[in-house]
């Protein structure tokens, strides 16, 4: 039986102006009245930290910091931001769940190609589908300010060698394809990751196709 839950539409308007940043496949809202803290090292190209509090299962807010180092030229960009995440749609199936998240925020951008800081705007969206053995997600994130505009698109496909339960360690093997625009990187960056989580702790670790490490850790409490 397919069950649909639609989040209240009133919160949509809040999002229109706000911005976001990518993470490595995790949901931007874990659960109601929960705090999520996350850090990611993305193969030297991206470094990010975030903290969010979810007042309901369909809305969270918080802030973060993200830094991009171009693989193409000696350009770096960093943004400190405030962000709101909104669950636009959830499908609760008997043994699966699918979600559409959108998010937005405003930030302060700096970089080595311009002086001072600029107002940065960002919007993003994510679709994910998950059973206890299969996971897939597609996500797009746009950062924009007067000095640069760039997007990070990430797709992940994961499979679990066994079906985990609440009290057992979950193990996933994840293939990731990520594309950076805005002179950050040419071509798709492929990565193979091992994902482990239990209770409120989650870690992704792996390498990209060119041998660079990628690590993400997340804690929900």
């Amino acid at each position: 039986m397919l069950t649909l839950i639609r989040a209240p539409s009133g919160a949509c308007a809040v999002l229109a102006l706000l911005c976001a940043a990518p993470d490595a496949g995790a949901k931007p809202i874990a659960f109601a009245n929960g705090t999520t803290v996350m850090a990611e090292y993305g193969a030297g190209t991206m470094l990010e930290g975030q903290a969010f509090y979810a007042s309901t299962y369909w809305l969270s807010s918080g802030g973060g910091y993200v830094r991009f180092n171009s693989d193409i030229n000696p350009v770096n960009r960093e943004i400190a931001y405030l962000r709101v995440n909104y669950l636009a749609k959830r499908w609760n199936l008997p043994s699966a769940q699918a979600n559409i998240f959108v998010w937005g925020g405003l930030g302060s951008a700096a970089g080595n190609t311009f002086d001072g800081t600029r107002l940065a705007r960002n919007v993003g969206a994510q679709f994910d589908y998950e059973t206890r053995r299969v996971y897939m997600s597609a996500k797009s994130d746009l950062w924009d300010c007067s000095e640069f505009s760039q997007r990070v698109d990430t797709m992940q496909f994961g499979f679990a060698p066994y079906a985990h339960d609440y009290s057992t360690l979950a193990t996933w093997f994840v293939i990731q394809a990520r594309n950076y625009t805005g002179q950050i990187r040419h071509g798709v960056e492929w990565a193979a990751l091992v994902r482990l989580f239990k209770g409120g702790a989650w870690i992704d670790a792996g390498v990209t196709a060119d041998g660079k490490p990628q690590v993400m850790a997340m804690f929900n409490f």
């Binding site: 659960f31 929960g34 199936l93």
Partner: protein, 110 residues
């Protein structure tokens, strides 16, 4: 007459307590990861009447036991899980203790 009234009242209270299930089990859709379970457990433990909670992803089952003489209505439970982002497709009240449910789930997973 007074003795009769007291006996009747005792009987009524006894029947009322016997009517309370030891464990309330809910079949839930969308229960696929530990974070789901964590959120649901947190929500259910917030009820003052809750004594214990068990979540099984394998069985798509959420079980809650209440403190002696206390209860949580089906409506409250359904609302709590809906507010947590999940869909309750069935609620049943069992006489089995929550420890027995936990043991049963453990055995089923082996």
């Amino acid at each position: 007459m007074k003795i009769l009234k007291t006996a009747l009242a005792t009987l009524l209270v006894g029947f009322a307590l016997a009517g309370h299930a030891a464990t309330i089990e809910m079949e839930v859709n969308g229960l696929v990861c530990a974070f789901c379970a964590q959120g649901i457990e947190k929500k259910l433990r917030a009820f003052p009447a809750t004594s214990d909670v068990v979540v099984s992803l394998e069985e798509r089952l959420v079980a809650v036991s209440t403190k002696d003489g206390q209860d949580i209505s089906d409506e409250e439970l359904r609302r709590a899980l809906t507010d947590a982002g999940y869909t309750v497709v069935g609620i049943r009240r069992e006489t089995e203790s929550i420890d027995a449910v936990r043991d049963r789930l453990k055995e089923a997973s082996h």
